[in-house]
C-alpha cells in the first residue's frame, strides 16, 4: 500500500474554538492506482487530498489519525522533513493553472525548479524529460513549448503543462484537485486524455478530486463518495456506477436524469425577445457577427457554446450594456433602444438578469430584505405592508423561509441559497424575460438541480421567458425548449431542442456533444481510440 490514511481527523478554527471537518476518514491508495474522491463542496475532499501531502490549509489542523506514506507517518515528521516529500514523492495539481504558475517565469524554468530543489535530476535531464512529457501530452511544438510564458498558452495547455510539472520529479502519487472544472468541455477532454496518458505511462498513483461524476468515472479505478467529512461509500468504479449501495450516492447519480416534463408552448403571439442581425463588440473587434434568434413567449431558449463564443456578449447586447453596432433587438415586437440609458423604466423592468457567481451578484453589505425591497420599491412603488407581503410571497416562491432569511446578510447563506436570492431579485421586478448567465455552473450538482427545478416551476407559474446561457449540455437537455448553438460570435444552429441535439444536426454540435463526458467508464478510452482528442484539445 503506497498511501494509507487511517482515521484522519481534521479540525477548523471557528468563532467558538475548533470544529471537526473530517471525522476519522480512511483512504488507501495502492501503487499505480487512481482513486476518485467525489462529493459536494464542503464534503472535505480537498482537505483529504491535501492531507496526503501531510499538509493542512491555513486555519485547519490535524486532530488525530495517521497518514502513512510508503511506511512513514507524515504527521509525525517535522515540517522540514515533510517538505522533502512534497513535490518529490507526492505532487499536487490545483484547479486553476493560471493562478498556480508564476507569470514572470518561462514554463520550462518552472518545470525544472522541483528537480533542482530535490536534487533528483540536473538541468539537462529535466529539460529532456519536460520535452518528452510535453510531447506525450500533445502540446504544440514540444521542443520549444517550455520557452513560452504562462500567458502565451491557452487555459487547457496551461493545465496540461501543470500536470507535466507535477510529474517532474517522477512522484509516486499525484493529487489532482478539480483540474478540469474551470475548462470548457472541448478543452476538458484534451486535459483528461493527457492526465490518463501520463498516469498510464509513468505508473504513478493518483487521487482525483472532482464533483463531476462522469469525469471521475473515466479517470478512477476506485471511487470514494464523501459527505460532511465522512465516507459514504467506497467501491470499484464499475460497481459504484452500476450498483451504488447508499441512497446518497444514488441521489448524486440521479441528478443527471432530471428532465423537465414536455409541455405545449403558447403559440401565435409575438416573441418576447427578437434579435435581428446583431453585430457587436469591443473597440475594433467584433465579438458578435449578425446574430439572429427569437425567444418565444414563455419558452426557455438555451444558448450553448464554448467560452469566447459570444454567449455572454449577446446577453450584454440585450441588456443594453453593450450597444450593438448594427442590427436590432425588439421586446414584444417593439424595438428596444440600443443603450441602457435610453430605455424607459418599463423596458428596464421587463428584462432582468441572474448571474453565475451569486457571491459577487449580491451586495455583501445589504441584508436580503434590502436587496429584494429595492426593485419592489423602484419599479412597482411598493412600500410598507404591500412590500412586506410581496417580500414574503417572493421568499415562499424561492422556497426559503421569510422569517429565517430576510434579515441575514448574503455571507450567512450557502451558495444555493444565494443563487435563490438572485432569482428572487430578478422576479421582484415582475419581468417578462430573464437572462440566466451560467446560473448553475458554480454549484454542486444536487444544488444545481434544485435551482433548475425552481426555475422551471417559476416559469410554469408566471409565464416568464428565459435565455439560458450555459456550456453544460446536461443542463440544456434538462430544461430547454429551444437551443441556439454559437461559436466564434456566430449562430451555428438553432431550433427546437430535439431538432438541434437528437441527433446533432450541425457538425459543431456533434463535436460539442461528443466532448461531454458520459457516465460509461469506457467513454474516454473509446474517444482516445477514435483518435479525435488531439484535434479537440487544440
Amino acid at each position: 500500500m503506497l498511501l494509507n490514511i487511517e482515521k484522519l481527523k481534521v479540525e477548523a478554527r471557528g468563532e467558538e474554538g475548533w470544529t471537526p471537518i473530517l471525522h476519522g476518514v480512511d483512504l488507501q491508495v495502492a501503487r499505480g492506482e487512481v482513486v476518485g474522491l467525489i462529493g459536494e463542496s464542503g464534503a472535505g475532499k480537498s482537505t483529504l487530498g491535501l492531507a496526503a501531502l501531510g499538509f493542512a490549509q491555513g486555519g485547519l489542523r490535524f486532530a488525530g489519525g495517521r497518514v502513512i506514506f510508503d511506511g512513514t507517518d507524515l504527521l509525525q515528521l517535522p515540517e522540514r522533513q515533510r517538505r522533502a516529500f512534497r513535490g518529490r514523492r507526492v505532487a499536487y495539481v490545483a484547479q486553476s493553472a493560471a493562478a498556480s504558475f508564476n507569470p514572470a517565469w518561462r514554463l520550462l524554468d518552472q518545470f525544472c525548479e522541483g528537480p533542482a530543489i530535490h536534487h533528483t535530476a540536473d538541468r539537462a535531464e529535466s529539460e529532456a524529460f519536460a520535452r518528452q512529457l510535453y510531447a506525450a501530452m500533445h502540446l504544440p511544438d514540444p521542443e520549444n513549448f517550455g520557452l513560452r510564458f504562462p500567458h502565451q498558452v491557452s487555459g487547457g495547455q496551461l493545465q496540461r503543462a501543470m500536470v507535466a510539472m507535477a510529474m517532474a520529479c517522477k512522484p509516486d502519487l499525484i493529487v489532482f484537485d478539480e483540474p478540469t472544472t474551470a475548462l470548457d468541455v472541448t478543452t476538458q477532454i484534451g486535459v483528461l486524455a493527457a492526465i490518463r496518458q501520463a498516469v498510464e505511462t509513468t505508473g504513478t498513483a493518483a487521487i482525483y478530486i472532482t464533483h463531476d461524476l462522469a469525469v471521475v468515472a473515466q479517470m478512477a479505478d476506485r471511487i470514494k463518495v464523501m459527505r460532511h467529512g465522512r465516507e459514504v461509500e467506497d467501491a470499484p468504479t464499475r460497481r459504484m456506477i452500476e450498483a451504488p449501495a447508499q441512497d446518497y450516492t444514488r441521489s448524486l447519480w440521479a441528478v443527471r436524469a432530471f428532465r423537465r416534463p414536455p409541455r405545449a408552448l403558447p403559440q401565435a403571439s409575438a416573441p418576447t425577445i427578437s434579435i435581428r442581425e446583431v453585430t457587436a463588440g469591443y473597440s475594433a473587434l467584433d465579438v458578435l457577427s449578425e446574430v439572429s434568434f427569437d425567444i418565444p413567449r414563455g419558452a426557455t431558449v438555451a444558448v450553448v457554446g464554448e467560452s469566447g463564443s459570444g454567449k455572454s456578449t449577446t446577453a450584454r447586447a440585450i441588456t443594453g450594456l453593450l450597444p450593438p453596432r448594427a442590427g436590432s433587438i425588439a421586446l414584444n415586437g417593439t424595438p428596444l433602444p440600443p443603450r441602457l440609458a435610453q430605455r424607459g423604466l418599463e423596458q428596464k423592468r421587463a428584462v432582468q438578469m441572474i448571474y453565475q457567481m451569486a457571491d459577487t451578484a449580491l451586495n455583501p453589505r445589504q441584508t436580503i430584505r434590502q436587496i429584494l425591497s429595492r426593485p419592489l420599491q423602484f419599479y412597482l412603488g411598493l412600500t410598507g405592508r404591500a412590500r412586506e407581503a410581496r417580500l414574503n410571497a417572493l421568499m415562499e416562491q424561492i422556497e426559503l423561509e421569510p422569517a429565517r432569511f430576510l434579515d441575514r446578510l448574503p455571507g450567512e447563506l450557502s451558495g444555493g441559497q444565494k443563487q435563490r436570492i438572485g432569482i428572487a431579485r430578478a422576479l421582484a421586478a415582475d419581468p417578462e424575460f430573464i437572462i440566466c448567465d451560467e446560473v448553475t455552473s458554480a454549484l454542486d450538482q444536487l444544488v444545481a438541480e434544485g435551482i433548475l427545478r425552481l426555475l422551471s416551476k417559476v416559469q410554469d407559474e408566471t409565464g416568464v421567458s428565459y435565455m439560458f446561457i450555459t456550456h453544460d449540455i446536461a443542463t440544456v437537455r434538462a430544461i430547454a425548449d429551444e437551443v441556439v448553438v454559437m461559436r466564434g460570435g456566430r449562430v451555428m444552429d438553432k431550433g427546437l431542442k430535439a431538432e438541434v441535439l437528437d441527433p446533432p444536426r450541425h457538425a459543431y454540435t456533434r463535436e460539442l456533444l461528443a466532448s461531454v463526458p458520459q457516465m460509461d467508464p469506457d467513454w474516454l478510452t473509446r474517444r482516445i481510440a477514435e483518435g479525435r482528442i488531439a484535434e479537440g484539445a487544440a
Binding site: 441602457l340 459577487t360 445589504q366 429595492r374 423602484f378 419599479y379 421586478a429
Partner: protein
C-alpha cells in the same frame, strides 16, 4: 458591540482610552485649564512649582494651561482638516470610479499634478500667498491631503464597480448617487476608516510642523508645534519642558495608529 470589545487586542484598548482622554481634555479645556489661554501669569521660564505645575513659557504663560488649550486647538483643527480632506477626496474618488471616462481622466490628472510637487513646499507656497490663518490653513492642508484619499477611494471603488451587484443596480436603472452611496461606499468603508486614522496623524503632524515653521495657527493660540519652537531655548539648559507638547503629539499619534492597525486587521478579516 460587547463582543467587539472582548476581541479587541490590548494595544487597541489602550489606544481607544488615550484618544478618549484627549477628547475629554479638548472638550472641557475651559474647565480643566487653571489659567486662560493667553494669560501672562508669571515671569519667563519659571521652573516647575505648585503654582505652575509645568512652569511658564517664554512669555510667562502657564505651560499646563497652554498644553490643555493646545489639545483643543491642535486636535480640533487636525480633525476638521482631515474630515474635509475625506469629504473632498472620497466623493471625487467615488465619482471618478463610477463615471469613468473624461471625469476620471480630468480628476486623476489634476491629482497627479498636485502630487507631483512635494506637499510641504506646496503648502508653504500656498500659505505664503494666501497669508496665515486658521481657515486658510485648514483648506490648503485639506485639499493637498485629499489627493491621497482620492487615490485610495478611486482604487478601492474601482474594484467594487466591476462586481455583478453594481451591474445589477445599473441594469435596474439606479442613478450614480445610489450606486455610489448604497452599493460602493459600504464596501470600501473599512479601508477608508483605516485611512482616516492614518491621515489624521499625518495632518496633525503637518499642522504641528507648519506651526513650528511659523505658518500654523496664529499666535496667541496655543498650539503644540509652536510651543515646541517657542520654548526650544530651554532644551539647551537641560530642561525637558519644551518636549512635553512633542510628547503629547507622539502619544496621540501612536494611540491612533494602534486603533487603526486593529481596524485594518478587522477589515482584512471581513474580506475572507
Amino acid at each position: 458591540m460587547i463582543r467587539m470589545l472582548k476581541t479587541m487586542p490590548s494595544t487597541a484598548i489602550l489606544g481607544v482610552l488615550v484618544i478618549a482622554a484627549y477628547a475629554v481634555i479638548a472638550l472641557f479645556a475651559p474647565l480643566l485649564a487653571p489659567h486662560a489661554e493667553a494669560q501672562i501669569v508669571g515671569a519667563q521660564f519659571e521652573p516647575w512649582s505648585a503654582a505652575y505645575p509645568l512652569g511658564t513659557d517664554t512669555l510667562g504663560r502657564d505651560m499646563l494651561s497652554r498644553l490643555i488649550w493646545g489639545a483643543r486647538n491642535t486636535v480640533g483643527v487636525a480633525l476638521v482638516t482631515t474630515a474635509l480632506a475625506f469629504g473632498i477626496g472620497a466623493i471625487s474618488g467615488l465619482l471618478a470610479a463610477a463615471l469613468g471616462g473624461w471625469v476620471d481622466l480630468a480628476l486623476s490628472r489634476l491629482v497627479d499634478v498636485l502630487m507631483a510637487v512635494p506637499a510641504l513646499i506646496l503648502t508653504l507656497l500656498a500659505l505664503s500667498a494666501l497669508g496665515p490663518g486658521v481657515a486658510n490653513l485648514v483648506v490648503v492642508v485639506a485639499i493637498l491631503d485629499s489627493t491621497r484619499v482620492f487615490r485610495l477611494a478611486r482604487a478601492t471603488a474601482m474594484n467594487v464597480m466591476v462586481m455583478d451587484y453594481v451591474e445589477a443596480a445599473q441594469l435596474r436603472g439606479e442613478g450614480t448617487w445610489w450606486i455610489i452611496s448604497r452599493e460602493v461606499l459600504p464596501n470600501i468603508s473599512a479601508p477608508l476608516i483605516a485611512e482616516f486614522g492614518l491621515r489624521f496623524c499625518f495632518v496633525f503632524l503637518t499642522i504641528s510642523a507648519l506651526s513650528f515653521l511659523g505658518l500654523g495657527l496664529p499666535p496667541p493660540m496655543a498650539d503644540w508645534g509652536a510651543m515646541v519652537r517657542d520654548n526650544a531655548a530651554l532644551i539647551t539648559f537641560g530642561d525637558i519642558t519644551p518636549l512635553m507638547p512633542a510628547a503629547c503629539i507622539a502619544v496621540l499619534t501612536v494611540s491612533v495608529n494602534f486603533v487603526v492597525d486593529w481596524m485594518l486587521h478587522r477589515a482584512s478579516g471581513l474580506k475572507d
